[in-house]
């Protein structure tokens, strides 16, 4: 038995097991739960990196449940796979790396941030469950399995949003909103899965993709899937839950929630590229996604400028940045059926969009963590009440500057790299889109200058005389993210060539996705 063949399942199984062990450990020692969760997530991160190296050098990996061998996709004399399987390709592992990194850093940050003693064990249990469900959504090759993980993700994240709900009303209000939104989304996904099952009698994504016809029913299923997954990803006009949920959750959870929204975004891309690919009317669907992106970018940033709550402001920026990803990938989809345009700018646009997913997870995570650090020391999220904090919190100030410069797309940071890819390629598709994207970027900078000015600059305020730098575990998590941001900003070529380009190609080349399961049918 080769243990390396079992890496895809071990990445999920270890945190899942740990999630149910933690309540028992919590009975003995409350503090140990956090350290245990961090260790398990670190192990999971190492396994993800091992799997990533294997996938990028060998090719997509498959893990079939319940079969004699985990690589046996088609039992003898069957044309279609009947078992649930994980199918991890370059795109899946790209998202998996984000998930692993973000949840690991989130757990480290939580060690000091979550100072409430009761409920500590359930906090880490739910954090691990949320991580597992995100991995599941990204790795699975089975539609129904995707639905199950989507539901686990929504339940775990809702409970985490409500974590402070025993003392306050607002987190529960935000959690209720998110729960209603995500249960409708998950139920509608199940409805679409039912449509697929009724039509093709299979649930495996690759198997459906090989026979899909784009009939009337398929169009209905596509409409349902794209709109509800865009709702889960927080795209305008279905964004009403995002600012509430992001601002009321504890800061490390907000960072992980951003990654969870991106898992839904990944599912949109998986559906339109791997499931339908060129059978659908790529120009029309591409433009629909582009328009979602434009609305998200513009409305997100204009709403952000008027906010006074620092986390709410950042949450609106998260909506706005989601627009860039939708824009980049939408342009790639719009020219998918046109090989010359795809070569000229389509692939670059998609690289920009996909690269932006990772960059966004890093700098937005960092910004939410700095907001959490401010809240941890000052006890307020209101920008009007803050001021002069740069005197007391030097590291946090530096991290905030790095994050703000990255989100605004200033040169030596990673936001610049992916935004430049998007501007260049989208300009060749339609100059107007590119100009709007640049204007949004300028507005983003303006709004972060405002935050920086009102929170960090100014004279020392008497009420913050006791404020000091945050504990080491929080500084460590922020420092790692800052390092990654600068590294990606200095060597974008390295990342784009080795990680992003394979991910984009695995989305575009549908036959590779289907043939790994069906064996070149």
């Amino acid at each position: 038995m080769n243990l390396l063949n079992h890496t895809p399942i071990l990445i999920l199984a270890l945190p899942l097991l740990a999630a149910f062990l933690i309540p028992i450990i919590g009975k003995i020692n409350k503090k140990a739960t956090g350290i245990f969760a961090t260790l398990v997530l670190g192990l999971s991160l190492i396994l993800t990196i091992i799997l990533a190296v294997k996938i990028l050098s060998v090719g997509p990996q498959i893990y079939v449940f319940g079969a004699k061998s985990p690589l046996l996709t088609l039992p003898s004399s069957l044309k279609f796979p009947i078992r649930i399987m994980f199918q991890v390709d370059a795109m899946g592992i790209f998202m998996g790396l984000i998930t692993a990194l973000v949840s690991f850093l989130g757990a480290i940050y939580s060690l000091a941030f979550i100072d409430k003693k009761d409920g500590l064990d359930s906090y880490y249990s739910l954090l691990l469950l949320l991580t597992v469900s995100m991995f599941g959504m990204e790795f699975t090759g089975d539609l129904f399995n995707f639905f199950v993980f989507l539901e686990i993700a929504s339940m775990a994240s809702v409970s985490l949003i409500c974590y402070r709900g025993t003392d306050l009303g607002e987190p529960v209000e935000a959690g209720f909103k998110y729960m209603v939104v995500s249960s409708i989304a998950a139920l509608m996904v199940l409805f679409a899965i039912g449509i697929f099952y009724g039509e093709y009698d299979v649930l495996n994504i690759a198997a459906i993709a090989s026979v899909i016809k784009y009939s009337q029913l398929d169009k209905i299923a596509l409409g349902i899937l794209v709109s509800v997954l865009a709702m889960k990803a927080g795209a305008v006009p279905m964004h009403m839950w995002t600012p509430d949920a992001y601002s009321e959750a504890p800061a490390p959870i907000t960072m992980i929630l951003v990654a969870a929204s991106q898992a839904s975004l990944y599912a949109i891309f998986r559906v339109v590229f791997s499931l339908y690919n060129i059978t659908l009317n790529t120009l029309a669907v591409g433009w629909i996604i582009i328009i979602f992106g434009l609305l998200s970018m513009f409305i997100g940033v204009t709403m952000a400028i008027i906010q006074k709550d620092i986390k709410r402001l950042m949450a609106y920026h998260a909506i706005s940045q989601t627009g860039y990803m939708l824009l980049g990938v939408g342009v790639g989809l719009a020219v998918l059926a046109n090989p010359t345009a795809l070569q000229r700018y389509g692939i670059t646009a998609m690289e920009g969009g996909i690269f932006h997913i990772m960059n966004h997870a890093m700098y937005k995570g960092l910004l939410f963590l700095t907001a959490g650090a401010l809240f941890f020391r000052t006890g307020t999220r209101d920008l009007n009440k803050m001021g002069g904090l740069a005197h007391y919190m030097k590291y946090t100030t530096i991290f905030f500057i790095i994050g703000a410069a990255a989100i605004a797309g200033l040169p030596p940071f990673n936001g610049f790299a992916s935004k430049l890819l998007i501007y260049e390629s989208v300009y060749k598709f339609n100059p107007l889109l590119s100009i709007i994207a640049m204007v949004v970027s300028i507005l983003t900078l303006a709004s972060f200058v405002k935050v920086f000015h009102s929170a960090f600059l100014g004279p020392k305020l008497p009420q913050f005389i006791e404020v000091k730098e945050v504990p080491r575990s929080m500084v460590f998590a922020m420092a790692v993210l800052s390092f990654i941001i600068i590294f990606f900003g200095l060597f974008p070529d390295l990342i784009v060539k080795n990680l992003v380009h394979p991910a984009v190609m695995s989305l575009i080349e549908q036959f590779k996705y289907t043939s790994t399961v069906l064996g070149g049918m």
Binding site: V148, M155, G165, V172, M179, S183, I184, G194, Y197
Partner: protein, 115 residues
Amino acid sequence: MIGNFPYITVIIYIGCGIYILMFQKNLIKLAIGINLIENGINLFLITLGFKKGAVAPIYTQAPSGQSMVLPTPQALTLTSIVIGIATTALILSMAMMIYKHYGSIEVNEVRRLRG
């Protein structure tokens, strides 16, 4: 025509659920709306696997030559029912917490988060 009745019921269920979600103000009623949608979708899945005159899909006990209903949708439905119970329990417990903090479960009064 009569074969389509289950699908019409599905549409009625889901329609009622969406109507409740859009026009009702009470948080408990929202939970009921979500439950209605879920029941509609469960019925939809079960209907997909139905065959007239077929027996239950137990391989060892079926008379030979008799056709069976599809087992997969039943498995899907069972999973979805279990998930639905968890969702409902979570929503209702949150409605309880909201009542504790706000003293009301009317949507108009549970509105501290704005802008």
